[in-house]
Amino acid sequence: MKELVVISGKGGTGKTSLVASFAALAKDHVMVDCDVGAADLHLVLNPEILESHDYYGGKEAIIDQDLCTKCGKCKEVCRFNAVDDDMMIRPLFCEGCGACVFICPEKAIRLEDSLSGEWFLSDTIYAPMVHARLGIAEDNSGLLVSLIRGKARELAKEQGRNLLITDGSPGIGCPVIASITGADLILIVVEPTLSGMHDLKRVADLTKYFDVDAVVTVNKYDLNEDITNQVEEYCRQNDLQFLARLPYDEAVVRAQIARKPVVSFGESKVATEIKKLYNDVSNILNK
């Protein structure tokens, strides 16, 4: 079984649009949407949810007001500013560490499992899909990402599918780290801008830090061919395979509005290039 994870560093480079097209092009695959804080893949793949499960991401402290004497020791000891001036817990700040539970002389505080979101096993016309919704303002997205990657792997095994295609999130922090560790191949989608170039360097360093193989594609390359060339040169100098230049194409937005992958939305220049890109990625995965 192989896993392809699509990340970008910079937001808005076209990861989800590309992954949606890969869904239509691949065979024997399972789709995974690891952008759990702002998931969009379902908007194009139109999944039918077969199972939904609660996700308990961490814990939160609850103070029993009957036992609380407002001594303030919990506030002193909390490093996350999660106890307000009235000795009430601020759930948005609480990390569920238990320091307050430990220190409270009245044993007035307990930790409870915190319902942080939901994850889903779904079906689409292209492949089964595993996705999730992290609750508003919840943290521990990394754990949820790891959970759904694991579930996708189990599902693939059960159904004899041998490819996971994973849509990642922007940035280089915990949900991205959780989505790339152990992957067979990372595809970094870059935009040809100074910002995109800057972010590429950081996300490429991240893949090296976690020892995962990465390949690169530039999306909307014709916006700035000079920087596209710089990206290609950077790849050459840093042991990253540069795979493709995808042109800016209004078909991408039109396909999105029609809720279809762009490769399933008639002929377009970008669709042709995406098909070639997928072919290259597939060959690399199957080496």
């Binding site: 937001g11 808005g12 969009d40 000891v77 238990g98 430990f102 922090g173 972010d199 830090y209």
Partner: protein
């Protein structure tokens, strides 16, 4: 006053609006710009500050004195993050998992645990004209951005205007950034992804309870659904920037679009007045 640019979706134009707004406002007053997208900071590309100072920020992680350790296992049992464990006669720590809560240190009956530092990242300070800038750069491989974001936020202006560029999304780095903002501008694009993520971001801002408005970037790109949503929800659209290839090209080169295309200034001109109006509601 702290004005934060946030979004659900990445790549909608937070940094574009933050930097161009900061530049325009700085023409007649001192402005502070904080780039809290510590994972992928980009504001400096457009502001081009002269850097004057930098310092490293750390998270405290446990250090175990094995001479004092009695192998009771309380540290491992207490830790909610599996960052410390007593296995046989060894105490293993997993610094990358540690949240720096200090519980193991408090819980250890023999005082065997003290703290050492794990590097989270660097804060850099600089200026360009009337703009004072600070940003953070998360150490590659570090999972936790909020402590670094909080360090950057300490450089907010006491009494002037601070513009804060947030990371994309709705999870904990964004929450850490938008806390204590006076006003939030949610930046979106008029596409299905843009609308979907805008709804999540609106839910997030309502949870925090800060006044907000929406900015629609590349406003003639997709369909009308975002505008209709804002109308239904009673959210003011405070700024619209059209989808102009020339603006995108300027952006790609690291230029401030209002500098290269002064005709775009008019889109920004009413923002502060609109924000004051929203705040007075």
């Amino acid at each position: 006053m702290k004005i934060t640019l946030a979004s659900g979706k990445g790549g909608t134009g937070k940094t574009t609006i933050a930097t161009n707004l900061a530049y325009l406002l700085s023409k007649d007053k001192e402005i502070t710009l904080l780039d809290c997208d510590v994972e992928e900071p980009n504001a400096h590309i457009f502001i081009k500050p002269t850097w004057t100072d930098s310092y490293t920020t750390y998270l405290p992680i446990p250090k175990v004195d094995m001479d004092k350790c009695i192998h009771c296992g309380i540290c491992g049992d207490s830790c909610q993050f599996s960052a410390i464990a007593n296995i046989g006669d060894k105490v293993l720590t997993y610094p990358e998992l540690c949240h720096g809560c200090g519980l193991c240190m408090m819980a250890c009956p023999t005082g065997a645990i003290t703290e050492q530092n794990r590097e989270i990242g660097t804060v850099e300070l600089g200026h360009s004209g009337n703009i004072k800038m600070a940003h953070g750069k998360l150490r590659i491989g570090e999972a936790m951005s909020p402590p670094l974001i909080n360090a950057v936020k300490k450089h907010a202006s006491e009494d002037g205007i601070t513009i804060i560029d947030a990371p994309p999304g709705t999870s904990c780095p964004v929450i850490a950034t938008i806390q204590e903002s006076d006003f939030i501008i949610l930046v979106t694009e008029p596409t299905p992804f843009g609308l979907n993520d805008l709804k999540l971001a609106v839910g997030m801002v309502r949870e925090i309870g800060v006044p907000m408005a929406v900015a629609i970037n590349r406003s003639d790109l997709g369909d009308n659904a975002v505008k209709e949503y804002c109308e239904e929800e009673g959210i003011t659209v405070i700024l619209e920037i059209p989808n102009l290839r020339k603006a995108a090209q300027n952006y790609s080169k690291g230029h401030l679009i209002v500098k290269e295309m002064p005709e775009l200034e008019k889109h920004f001109s009413g923002i502060m007045a609109s924000i004051e109006k929203e705040l007075s509601k």
